[in-house]
Amino acid sequence: MKSIWTITKRELGGYFNSPVAYVFLVIFLLMTAAFTFLIGQFMDRNQATLQPFFMWHPWIYLFLVPAVGMRLWSEERRQGTMELLLTLPISLWHCIIGKFLASWIFLTLALVMTFPIWITVNYLGDPDNSVIVASYIGSFFLAGAYLSITSMTSAFTRNQVISFILSVVICLFLVLCGWPPVTDVVETLAPRSVVEFVAAFSVMPGIEQFNNGQIDSRAVIYFLSVIGFPLFATNVIIRGLRA
């Protein structure tokens, strides 16, 4: 356990030793604000809800989470530090989890820094704070799911750009395959059972539940498995690289 934390600390330090962390935080906060106020029409709605804030998270994360995670393993491969890391007396699992946690903590920090909007909505009206808490938890899991996929794609390649693009595509698929505007169109082309099967992989139903204030154990299990499977795949890929 201690070695996981050592890895996590180093990775987190890596974000803050470079401008990446600050650029990311600023962009993330600007984007969430822009989407909430300009496109989500937060003010004009006259409703004490953060729904126009959280509804954009699957789309904003789509680009920002792969940007945070794309270097996780590809940079280790490019710099050759993977050889150093994996000859230290720690298991590969500890490295994978340590690195993943570092990025997840960083994303959570970014999410926490959106707290002024929570204060704002409480100041202006009387929102259901339990719904807001559930939505924050959903957003936290969503970031973890995207991140885990990015961890997997970054183990594929030593090129960060490829890692970024691959993870955007996979995450986009997980969004679109259960997003009603897309499934409605696909339903006219494919049998309903196929569409439903594919839609079951989507992050959207789970996220909608969280955004409605429900913390459903099925949604939690869904997200934990979407986090777990790519981490497992990361392990397999890195083992395969060395064999």
Binding site: T6, G14, N17, Q79, T81, L86, T87, L88, I90
Partner: protein, 318 residues
């Protein structure tokens, strides 16, 4: 401390390492020699547990590297080829990270960092970010990382690569000093390094061990070992050849250069071990003929000759 048994590694159809076996004890410094692509790095990566072997066993301090990797890795310090480092950290931060991963904490950690920084002459760059360091300093930081936990076993892939002559000298003496209490393997293709630092050398070519012995034993394999080079002024080369031909201890005489007024001849011994007598006989012949002898020199044998002879296979024209 290290036992390598029938180690093989193939990448697809290519056999990178083929049935390599050797062992290493405390107090030994093993030089790993071979042309580029001979399988040196692959062997070291298998010893340090970075890549799994296709066949064979590596035991480090009694621990099988494949089955008990964490214990085995704990005993080893490893400097990978070209010394990869986390460039976003300072030298001190990086060494601290390596110490912490190896379970060194608190006051011990500070002590370990100080010790490694002292040994590798890193004081002046201690708080500098790794990506601003020159190649020599980077290499020494990699070295410091490998010795941070004062390991019993050190594995180094080309530890002097890219260093200037002074730094090379420094690293070699560091290796020699540490070799008294540790088991050390390092790879190189600089042959003087083997003579300067190793107690034993292994030459590997196309994945196979082709020679294993002390540097002196290897040198003795040279054709030139124990021959004498005689340089004489003012005598015809034919006269020199005939004169030296009368030496009964000699098997063969060759003329190395013949540029008037100097003739340089090489006298090969008939059998090993009688080289003292051969030298005396050459002196006697020279005195008899009143040759003006500039120099008589006994050849120790050259490691690079031996190296070339046994590893030339892949550069020879087909």
């Amino acid at each position: 401390m290290i036992k390598v048994e029938n180690l093989s590694k193939s990448f697809g159809p290519k056999n990178a390492v083929n049935d390599v076996s050797f062992s290493l004890e405390r107090g030994e410094i093993l030089g790993f020699l071979g042309p580029n692509g001979a399988g040196k790095s692959t062997t070291m990566r298998m010893i340090t547990g970075y890549i799994p072997p296709t066949a064979g066993v590596v035991k480090v301090g009694g621990n099988d590297v494949t089955q008990n990797p964490i214990e085995a890795k704990r005993l080893m310090g490893y400097l990978p080829e070209s010394a990869p480092l986390y460039t976003d950290m300072t030298v001190e931060g990086f060494l601290g990270f390596c110490a912490e991963v190896r379970g060194i904490k608190g006051a011990d950690k500070a002590k370990a960092i100080d010790r490694a920084i002292d040994m590798c002459f890193l004081k002046s760059v201690r708080h500098q970010s790794v990506d601003t360091l020159s190649k020599g300093f980077r290499h020494r930081t990699g070295f410091a990382q490998a010795i941070i936990h004062d390991p019993d076993i050190l594995v180094m892939d080309e530890p002097t690569d890219g260093l200037d002559p002074n730094q090379k000298h420094e690293v070699r003496s560091l290796i020699r000093r540490m070799g008294q209490s540790k088991a050390i393997i390092f790879s190189t293709h600089i042959l003087e390094e083997v003579e300067a630092a190793c107690t034993r050398a292994i030459i590997i070519d196309q994945g196979k061990i082709v020679a294993n012995g002390t540097p002196d034993e290897l040198k003795a394999k040279s054709e030139l070992a124990n021959s004498y080079v005689v340089s004489i002024n003012g005598t015809e080369s034919s006269a020199v050849r005939d004169g030296l031909g009368t030496v009964i201890q000699s098997a063969k005489v060759t003329i190395v250069t013949d540029k008037a007024p100097t003739v340089v001849a090489r006298v090969f011994p008939k059998k090993a071990g009688a080289d003292g007598e051969l030298g005396q006989a050459i002196f006697a012949v020279a005195a008899q003929n009143n040759w003006k002898v500039n120099e008589i020199k006994k050849e120790e044998g050259r490691l690079d000759d031996v190296f070339r002879n046994i590893t030339l296979s892949d550069t020879k024209p087909q």
